[in-house]
Each structure stands twice: as C-alpha cells, then as structure tokens.
C-alpha cells in the first residue's frame, strides 16, 4: 500500500486529518493535524488493510525558527501474517513549544520509552503517559539537549549561563 492509498483511506475515515502525504525513495510519510493525531494512529493500527501493529519509534525534530517548533515523528510498521512484506509508514505532526500530545502507550506498549526519550531530549510532554520522566539523562539534569538551542558542552559551556528553558506545563 503506497502513501496515496493510505492517505486516501485515512482521509475517508477521518476527514481533514491528513495535511500532506509524501512518497520518497519508497518511504511513506503522512503529515497529520495535531488534533486528530491519536485518531489517525488508532485507525492505522486497527484498519484490517493497513494493520500497523508495531510502533518502532517515537522521536522529534527541532526547527527553532518555526512557530510550530517541533515535528514529532511516529514510525510504524505492519508485521503481517499473510506473508506480504512488512510496510512502514511515518506519521509526522507539528506542535509548538510547551504543547502536549496525547500518549499512545495504550495503543502500543512500545511507545513508553520512545515518548520518555522525546520528553527527556526535547521537553515534549505526552498526556496520559504512565511514567513520564527522564530516561537517558540523569534525573537532576537541566534542559533538553536535542533542542538546537542547547549548548553542546552543557554546564561546561559559557552559553549555559544564558540557557533557559520553560519547563513543560
């Protein structure tokens, strides 16, 4: 199933959810509106033709100059029992700094650590996550190191004195 077919199905089921569908080098990417994100993900998981039964990763990309600062990326795969090759699809959604997304830990258990890593590294909050705390950095760490504004050397960097983060609400 290619991006056009998947986005058509999604558009049919959840009108207005899909902003853009891209096919590049055989990789399918759907950009969806933040409000319908969870609905789309649940649809992709449960639709018998698409059947994205595995969440490989949750990650983010920082665009500091943009109003909707972050792209949050969900990488899905369908491991099929009918012998067809597994299909992968990437779901992207944009959110501004300080905003929260619904957690999808209830759809895929594997979202747990991915969302925690996203929270740890980007300061993106996931509502409804059972245990949203830092996973890679020490608990007393300050800041979100994968944001492009974070000084590379951390506390040893002179720029760290000016580095300020509003904690996610």
């Amino acid at each position: 199933m290619n991006s056009a077919a998947i986005s058509a199905k999604v558009a049919g089921a959840i009108p207005g959810a899909c902003v853009e569908a891209l096919e590049f080098q055989g990789q399918t990417t759907l950009q969806v509106r933040r409000e319908s994100l969870k609905e789309v993900l649940a649809f992709l998981r449960d639709d018998p033709d698409i059947l994205m039964n595995q969440l490989l990763d949750v990650t983010a990309v920082d665009y500091p100059a943009r109003a909707d600062r972050f792209d949050v990326v969900y990488i899905l795969a369908s491991i099929r029992e009918d012998g067809l090759a597994p299909v992968r699809v990437r779901i992207k959604t944009r959110i501004p700094d300080g905003a929260a997304l619904p957690s999808v830990t209830d759809l895929w258990r594997s979202a747990d650590w991915g969302e925690r890593e996203c929270f740890d590294m980007f300061g993106i909050r996931f509502e409804g996550h059972p245990n949203l705390k830092r996973i890679l950095n020490p608990d007393n760490f300050y800041g979100y190191p994968l944001r492009k504004t974070f000084p590379l050397r951390g506390e040893r960097d002179p720029a760290f004195l000016e580095y300020k983060e509003t904690e996610p609400a």
Binding site: P138, L152, R153, E155, D157
Partner: protein, 170 residues
C-alpha cells in the same frame, strides 16, 4: 628487594614490606570497569592471546571488595560517574586505578554534555594509558608500571586524597 642469604641457603632476610609488596604485585586482582570499546581491548588483554595471567592478574573480580586494581576502560558518562565513584570507594585499601584510553583519561573525542572529561575528576588515577583504544601491549605496559608502584609502596590511594579532587555525593 634487599634479600640476603645468610649461613648458606638456610636463612633469608628481607624487609617484610618488600616481601608483602612483592606478593601483592604478583597477584593484583583487577576489577574490569569496561563501559565502551576500550573494554573489548581489555578483554582481549585478559584472554589467552595476551594473557594477563602471566603477571598474576587473571583473577578478574566483579566485586569491588575483592579487587585491588580498577581498570576503567571506556567512556564514563555523567550518569555513570556516581557508580564509578561508589565502586572505587567500595574497594578496600590499598588500591590502584588505571584510566585506559582517551575517554577515561580526558573524555576523548566526546567533548559534550554527557561525558565526564577524565575520570580523574572523580577518583584518583595512578596510570593513564593513551590510545583510542590502547593496544593490549599498552595496557600490559601500564600494568607492569603499576606493579612497579606496588613494589615500591606507592599509590594515590595510600596518600591522603589530593585537595583538588572534589567528592561527588553518592
């Protein structure tokens, strides 16, 4: 060692400290703190091809209470630092520390927010081994240098802790 034979070969005299140190240096038990790629070279040094057992160091201990040589082989990140400090504190005196490789000695190529810029910021280090990773020969060379320290009764753990080393709350 100041060994003297008197009355033929029936009696031997020596300083007790020399004999104890000689026994100690010939049976150093290493604690392998291998956290990254250098750990692989350390394993190689301990295994049959290079065979640290030739120097009496084949009894690798995974309990710090039974070890007297800490070989820190690999990158130490800030999250690991309290663990390393605690392991060091749990080793009983006297104890020696080898910082193996660029990462353990100075942070190596990782000049960033996660990596401790040399374990000597946390614990005293007796011997630094350069390299990324150091060859087994380099590690063995530093080991024989440590043996030299042991024989002469030297080592940072035997001196009072230098002022400059900050203590990390554990």
């Amino acid at each position: 060692m100041g060994v003297e034979l008197i009355r033929g070969d029936n009696f031997v005299t020596a300083r007790l400290a020399d004999v104890v140190n000689w026994a100690r240096k010939s049976s150093l038990w290493p604690f392998p703190f291998g956290t990254a790629c250098c750990g692989i070279e350390m394993m190689s040094t301990l295994a049959s091809r290079y065979d640290m057992a030739r120097f009496g160091a084949e009894a690798v201990r995974f309990s710090p209470r039974q070890a007297d040589l800490l070989i820190v082989a690999g990158t130490i990140c800030n999250k690991m630092a309290p663990v390393l400090k605690r392991i060091y504190d749990q080793m009983s005196q006297p104890k020696w520390v080898i910082a193996m490789g660029a990462c353990a000695s100075c942070g190596g190529i990782f000049d960033n927010y996660t990596v401790v810029q040399g374990i000597d910021q946390i614990i005293p280090v007796d011997m630094y081994v350069p390299g990324c990773p150091p060859s087994p020969q380099a590690l063995m060379y530093s080991f024989t240098k440590i043996q030299g320290l042991v024989q002469s009764g030297q080592g940072l753990s035997l001196d009072p802790m230098p002022e400059a080393v900050p203590s990390v709350p554990v």
